[in-house]
């Protein structure tokens, strides 16, 4: 059980929630969030957007029942956090490209911060449907930020010289972005989403087919090498 410090709207349907939690979480990991008893049945997977001392920051889009409940929470309310879960990112890169689409931009904030502290040079491409958010946060760490509203962010990618590329967003966008780097030397990572029941590897609900057989997004992922998941 954790206490909510702040929960405010930052763009249309997009909320930022600061939660008191001192976990040692890695960029790319997520938590299973729950602010109700038995209904809805499942907890909701939300990525770590950022960390700030003893606080974890989540940025989420209101989609359905669960995220609607999250959006109604006030500071001082409790929320259950199960996590951090998942593998998270490796941070060895020197020259990186981050590509985010929609609320998939959220986890890139903490990733950019971590990469920067490892001395990496960062270019970020951020694609939005209606309204930009978190651009300033990412600009604090990225050397170059390209944003687009309403178009396809993959149309604006011009930096192909990178040793690592991190993509998070809708699956079609991730696939398209991967195609751009497929024949370069860059290592490309995609953060995958699947519906989850347990979030801890116990139900096989979040299965993803990879080049190396079935994997679980919740525990083998959510970060995968793009070549392993977009191989067909």
């Amino acid at each position: 059980m954790a206490v909510i410090i702040q929960n405010t709207q930052i763009a249309k349907n997009i909320y930022k929630m600061r939660v008191c939690c001192g976990d040692d979480a890695k960029a790319g990991q997520f938590y299973m969030l729950r602010a109700w008893a038995n209904n809805p049945t499942f907890s909701r997977p939300i990525s770590i957007c950022d960390r700030d001392g003893d606080e974890i920051i989540f940025v989420y889009e209101v989609k359905g029942k669960g995220t609607k409940i999250f959006s109604s929470l006030k500071s001082g309310d409790n929320i259950e956090l199960l996590g951090p879960r998942g593998n998270g990112h490796e941070l060895s890169a020197k020259k990186c490209v981050l590509i985010g689409g929609g609320v998939g931009i959220a986890p890139l904030v903490y990733l950019a911060k971590q990469l920067k502290s490892h001395g990496a040079e960062i270019t970020a491409y951020l694609g939005y449907t209606n309204e930009a958010f978190l651009t300033e946060d990412i600009s604090k760490y990225a050397d170059k930020v390209i944003e687009n509203i309403g178009g396809y962010i993959t149309d604006y990618i011009d930096e192909l010289d990178a040793d690592s590329v991190y993509i998070c967003g809708p699956e079609i966008m991730m696939k398209k972005a991967y195609e751009l780097y497929k024949y370069t030397n860059a290592k490309v990572y995609a953060s995958m989403e699947r519906r989850m029941a347990c979030g801890i590897g116990g139900c096989l609900g979040c299965n993803i087919k990879t080049k190396n057989g079935n994997k679980k997004v919740c525990s083998d992922g959510p970060v995968f090498k793009a070549e392993d998941v977009f191989y067909e």
């Binding site: 038995n38 199960l82 519906r195 347990c198």
Partner: protein, 299 residues
Amino acid sequence: MNRLSVDFLGINFKNPIVAASGTFSFGKEFAEFYDINMLGGISFKGLTLNKKEGNEGIRVWECESGMMNSIGLENPGVEEFVEKYTDYTQNIDTVKIVNMGGNNLQEYIKGAELLNKVDFDILELNISCPNVKSGGMLFGVCEESAYEVTKAVKNITRHKLMVKLTPNVTDIASIAKACEEAGADALSLVNTFQAMAIDVLHKKPIFDNIYAGLSGACIKPIALRMVHQTAKAVKIPVMGMGGIYTGTDVLEFLMAGASCVQVGTANFINPLALKNIIKELEAYCEKENINIKDIINII
């Protein structure tokens, strides 16, 4: 004194709480959250003779007070399980139940024979599997095929045999009796109810297989009725399940005639669910000054 201990098939269970097959994997994931050896037992992820990749598409879907799943029995296969048995069951010091299904009689027989190579407590036979030879009808939906598969496995296995019934039948008592006659040592029920969900936006079924298995609180009242009918129909012990979330739910199943229960979906709501249920039962027995076995089959 342990007020929660129960006897099931001559095996002493620390308490009547067993993790349900397919919801607890082989236990390792939950061991991160609490000492899983406090459980009465664990029914492992359902096995089939050959490794299965499971179903494509969406596999889990939430609904009011429950969920649907279409995992498709993804599992490593009996052979690998037997080969790496010590890895799978390492550090597990409670009643071990191996759950197995099959797509034809031969698969059940071969699987059960291979499982004779390893030691565990109970073989749970999942007969909610389509019989490929009879056009995909589930083994568990008619008396003849339920009898046949139970008898065939009973003949070959050296383990205690518990047959897991499907609730997708018109008369659960007659299927239960057929399994008892065929030599089942115990019965467990219910497996999931066949169900469906539709994506109205795209005008298509949510699941690639169209239908999926319903579990969780929404099935509890029906599951309880079926456990009651079964317990009244047979002399062999019954392990009840279906939508158990709390200690009170467990008490209902025990009073209805189950000697033990399995808990599945609740593990997804809270990985500590089974531990919490055991604590609730301890408090109940303390308060009522009874042993849990005193309330079994009193209704």
